[in-house]
Each structure stands twice: as C-alpha cells, then as structure tokens.
Amino acid sequence: MATEIREAEQNASVSDSDSGQSDFIETNEIPGKSSNTLLVANDSFEDLSYAELNNTIVASPMGTINSLVKKKAKRSLSLPEREHVEDTVSESEVDDSEVETSEICDDSQVDMIEARVTELSLQETTSQTADAQIPHLMTNTDTDYVNSPEWKRQKKHIFILSESGKPIYSRHGNEDKLVTIMGVMQALVSFVADSNKDTLRSIVAGDHKFVFMTRDHLTFVGVTRGKESTQQMFLQLTYMYNQVISILTHSTLTRIFKQHRNYDLRRPLSGAEKFFDNLLNLMDVEPGLLLTSVRCLPLDSNVRDIVSQTIAQHAKVKDLVFALIIAQNQLVAVVRMKKYYLHPMDLHLILNLINASESFKAAESWTPICLPKFDAAGFLQAHVSYLDEECQTCLLLLSVDIEAFYTLSECKAKIQERLIKYNALAAINNSLKRNSYSIQQCSISDLRHFLYKSRSTAQYTSPELEAPYNTKEEKERLFGLYYYLHDRIHTSGRTLKILFHVGAYETLLGWVTTGFELYAVFGPLVTKMSAIHAVNKLLRWIKKEEDRLFILSSVTF
C-alpha cells in the first residue's frame, strides 16, 4: 500500500481555502455542542498519554466521590493551559512530520527480546507433552489450538497475567494452555523493569506489535498485526484494565495481591470471561471506544425530553446516582444526580455489561458494578431491566444503596408505564428499526463515511456502513483507515488540526478543533479543496440534525 499513497497534508487551511466556512468552528456553531455536560468529556485521546495511563488509580480512603471531584478540579487547573497552547497554534497549520517514537531501550535488549519471542513457540511445543495418565482431563483440542498456526495467525491477541506471571485471561485459546508464554511475558516486563529501571512499552517485530501495560499487579499484553498504533493498543488495554476493576474494584484487587502475591485471579473473575471477550469484540466494530465517546440513538428531541423527564420524575429516589436508557449499544437518555457525571469510558463498561449478558433479559436484575472513572474503590448497584417485550430497550438505575432493589423496581414499573403511555417506547423501537441514517441523507457527493465526535458532550455520530464497506474485510479496512487517521492526528508529536491523506482506494480528511473531531472518508479522486468544502457542508448538515443525533440537554434528578 505504502508506495501507492501520496500524502498531501500541507496548506489545507480552512481560512485559506474556504474562508466563508470558517464560522463553523466558532464555538456556538459546533454541531452537537452543549454546555450542559452529562458525560465528563475532557478525557480526549491526547490526554491518554503514557504518563496519564500509568497513573494508577488512587483509591480514596473515604471511597467517596469527593476524590473524583477533587481530581477533576485538579485536572481542569492543569489542562486548559495545555489545550490553549495547542489552540493557539493556528487552526490552519498542518504538520506532516512522521515522528516515529522508538519505544525500546537499546539494541542488545531488542535482540534478546526478539530471541525470546521466537523461542516462545518452541517452548510451547516442548511443554505440550500431555500426561498420558490423565487423558480425560486433558482437553487436547485446547492444547493443539494454542500451538496451531491458526492461533498464531489471529489478528489480535490480548493477554492478562498477574505480576508473578500467572495467566488470567487470553482472548484466543485457553489461558491455561498458555502458562509458558505468560511466564515469558512477565520475564520480559520484569527484565526491563529490574535491570534498566525502565518500563517496557512495546516491541515491534515484523508486522506484529507487542504492547505491554502494567497496572496494579497486573500485566496487560496486546499483540496485533492490525492497524492500531501502540497508543491505541494502550487505550484498548486500559479498557481491559477498567473491565477488571469494574468486576473487582480497585481496592479489592490491590488487597488481594498485597495479601497473596501468588493469587490466582481467575477465581474471583471466573464467569467474567464473557465481558472481556465482548469488550474486545466491541472494540473491533464500535468506534466509540477509540473516540472515548458514545453514540446516541437518533430520536426526536421532544421524545427524548419526554423520556428523560419521565425518568427524572419517577426515579426521584434517595441515593440514585444515574439512570439511563440504552438500546442496541446506543444511548437513549441519561439522568444524573447533580454534580455527578458519567465518564464515557465508564459508560462503555455499562454498555458492555448489557451487551454481554443474556441473563438480564430473563428478569429484573440487581448487580454490583464498579465504574473506575466514577469511583474505583467501590461498587454501585445496578437495577437492570428491559422495558419492551423484544428486550431491546434497557433501563439501568445505578444507586449507592444496596437495599434499594424494590424501591427501584417500583420506579421502573412507573417509568415503563409512562413511556408506553406517551408512545415513547414505540418511538425508540421505531428508531431502532429504521437503522441510523444513510450517508446519502447528507447528500454530499463522494463522501463515503465519517465519524463526528462532539467533544463537549463526548458523543459521536456516524452513518450506517454501506457499500463498499458492507463486507467483513471492507469494514475492517475502513476501521483500519480510521485508526490510521486518528493516530496521525493525535500522536504525531503534537495534535494536528487538519490532515488530508490520499490513499490508494480513498481519500481521508481528519479535522480536530477544541469542539469536535471529524474523520471523513471520500472517494479516491476528491481534491483537497472539494473535501474541505464537503466537510463544511457536512458540519452544516450535522448541525441541522444535532437535536436528533445528540443529547444536548442534561437532566438531573
């Protein structure tokens, strides 16, 4: 692919090329912008630097949300400064430098590490001599699988292991059959940590990237030959870490390993494998995780108002922190307690919980969930129920009161009754049936697909995937383009504002301002000028549709 690509990333300035459109980046005109925060959205990708990701969550001794408020306050002191610097770099400036950050210490180590990596497969082979005495317990298929070429050919592997090198989770293959390889991974991480007082971030070997992240006695390893950058893999591993915290809480996790360094974490996590699997599957198809933002179900704003007002009225219960309705991984409405916000990364854990569980469809449920960005030290209790027969529309009531099930169950009944009465449930169902929207509705020629994120609300919108992006391979390729564009814009030394990239099969335009992020995919022949013209037209279209595509008002109890 590389040779066919021409890149033209200079001078794509808004003011130069299309001065009439520059008003679209004026703050009050940003589509989907809202000053009513309902999601904490200041955690944009560039804040997820290694330094930030490495900050282990500080469990507040109180286990209260105060710590969150404080942390937020601190952050807003330090952040704007940085953002300002970036913002004063003129919007039109374009940076096309290809900065490759080398993340490994020195050559001798690379050699040594590479040698170890190639040895892995050999080691596994020696270790597979299954003990003949226990044939009924040895699932030979498991053993065979992790030694097979299929296993090695998997596009992405994710492993979780403890700091003693014990396996906890593997995306492909039974982790129990990967004991040797996990030991080697731990040895690699420790080797760099102990001998260099350094941290192993990543290894690049051929077309594979190995990305390592150590947090709270756990090591997360991602191996990919996909388009994800190291930074983006890091983000994915962070989601995995958050998923662990969501099940155990940070305080329990650290307590376990303080008391038993040799602890087998698979025990408290048993049954949770489906959440890890599902989260990883979501990451491959759902851009919201990459964008740390969520997609809203398109809905008439007055219907949405009815929904949130109904919740606000009928769930006015002590200790209820958040109430939300989600449908097919999309946000329908959120109501929150004053001063408490839902972070998009936490919301993705909630979406994953619902997405991965069939059991909620059977009955109203009461389940503990820790939302690490909200409070990593404790559990919220979630009342989970579906509001419709088809089990598409899900109501979640998140409380700090572990005794609140019956109270919340009554709330649910009232909410459900009202939503049926006001035809709101039917409206939700209709919207679900209609699919989201076709790119054709934007009527912009040569625009094939886009992702638009409103930063202030941490919400994004994108059209349906249509031809040519309707096969698995093409969808994957499109996702790869977005990975590429997103990475170029965010991690090329400093944040780019506009990036115009001419590829073999399509032309990409990325545009990031303080208010939004836009990633647009055009046909291959579009010129820079017309692409910029087109995205401005697109912004106007989104602006026109924003009431339907975004949740713009924040409702509190």
């Binding site: 270790s127 014990k166 004991v179 030991g183 087998d264 408290p268 922190v321 559990f379």
Partner: protein, 205 residues
C-alpha cells in the same frame, strides 16, 4: 476461565550452576536428557500438567537458564512463587553447602507470607555418578533442621525419582494454596458525601 478445579502453581528451581536443574526440568517435562550444557540469558519456562488429589494442576516451572544469580530477573523471578525446588549435586559438596544461601535468598526475595511452612523440596541430583561426596544422611539432616523439607535423590540422566520430587512439591504447594474468600467481603459500597453535592435537597422522597 478457571473452573473451581483448575490450579496453577508457579514453581522455581534454584541451585548452583551445573547441578542439573535444567536437566531435571527437561526430564520431568519432556522426559528427554540432553548432555549439552546451555547457558542462556534470563529465565526458562516449562509447563506440566499433573493430577494432585483429583485436581488438575498446571505447574509453571521457572528455571534460571544459566544465570544462577539472576541479576537479570531479580525479584520478578521469585515473585508469587507457590513452591521452590532446591537442587544440589551429590558429587559436589560445595553445591550442598550453598543450599542455605539459596533458601535464604528465596525467602528474602519472595517474602512468602508464612516462610516457616513454605513448600520447599530438596533434590540431591546425579546419583548415577560413582564419585558421590554428600551422603543421604547429611542431606536429610539439613532438611530436617529446616523444618522437615522433603528430600529426594534423583538422576536426571537416568530418570530416577524425578517425577516423585516434582509431585511432592506440587502436593505441598497445593496444601498451602490459600483459599481466600474474596467475594464474601465486598469493599464498602460508595458513600456519597452530602456536603459536597447536595443531591437530596430537591428530592421528593
């Protein structure tokens, strides 16, 4: 993921260079004996599944791969070990005398919760050789003085007693296996602080 029955044990083999650690491990896992002395860097790992009292146990065996003082791996090598095999060469008295310092180093670095009862096993290797220099009685005496560590005499070359020695370490480690009930004591639920946010003010409840 883990069923109740599956257990994973991290086992570490320690002892002076040349006593036969790698050979023992290879004998145990792959049942092969190689006469080549191979010094590699870092650690080596082998995995073996065994049955201990009706439970399927996976042993992850860590070997020092030639760097007997493992400057390279440091504490990571020992961290979270469930069992430790101390090996000496019955024809080399100095390797026997080193056992004390190996045991001490392990206890310092791994700092197990209950060092008195940590599952060690001692192996006197190379009993197939003629020139034996450490008697079984002397070795047993040492093991006894360290809290009755089980003692095995093996030959990695002739596959004598190797299986039994590793089986013992697995069994003893299993006996120690801590069965903390974590899920019974959930961390405190979150308490909302009213003075920060006054959520109840406008509640109708």
């Amino acid at each position: 993921m883990a069923s109740r029955k599956k257990v994973l044990l991290k086992v570490i083999i320690l002892g002076d260079s040349g006593v036969g650690k790698t050979s023992l491990m290879n004998q145990y896992v792959a049942k092969k004996f190689s006469n080549q002395y191979k010094a590699t860097i870092g650690a080596d790992f082998l995995t073996k599944e065994v049955m201990v009292d009706d439970r399927l146990v996976t042993m992850q065996i860590w070997d020092t791969a030639g760097q007997e003082r493992f400057q390279s791996l440091g504490v990571a090598f020992y961290r979270g070990a469930d069992g430790c095999v101390l090996v000496f060469d019955v024809t080399m008295p100095n390797t026997f005398r080193s056992l004390d310092s190996w045991r001490d180093e392990f206890l310092i670095q791994a700092s197990p919760r209950d060092p008195e009862n940590f599952p060690f096993v001692v192996i006197g290797n190379k009993i197939d050789l003629e020139n034996r220099a450490v008697s079984a009685r002397r070795a047993q005496g040492w093991c006894h003085s360290k809290g009755d560590i089980p003692y095995f005499e093996t030959s990695a070359k002739e596959a004598i007693n190797v299986e039994q020695a590793f089986q013992a370490v697995a069994k003893n480690a299993m006996a120690q296996e801590s069965d903390v009930e974590l899920c019974s004591d959930f961390p405190d639920p979150i308490k909302l602080k009213d003075d920060q946010a006054k959520p109840r003010e406008n509640c109708a409840c």
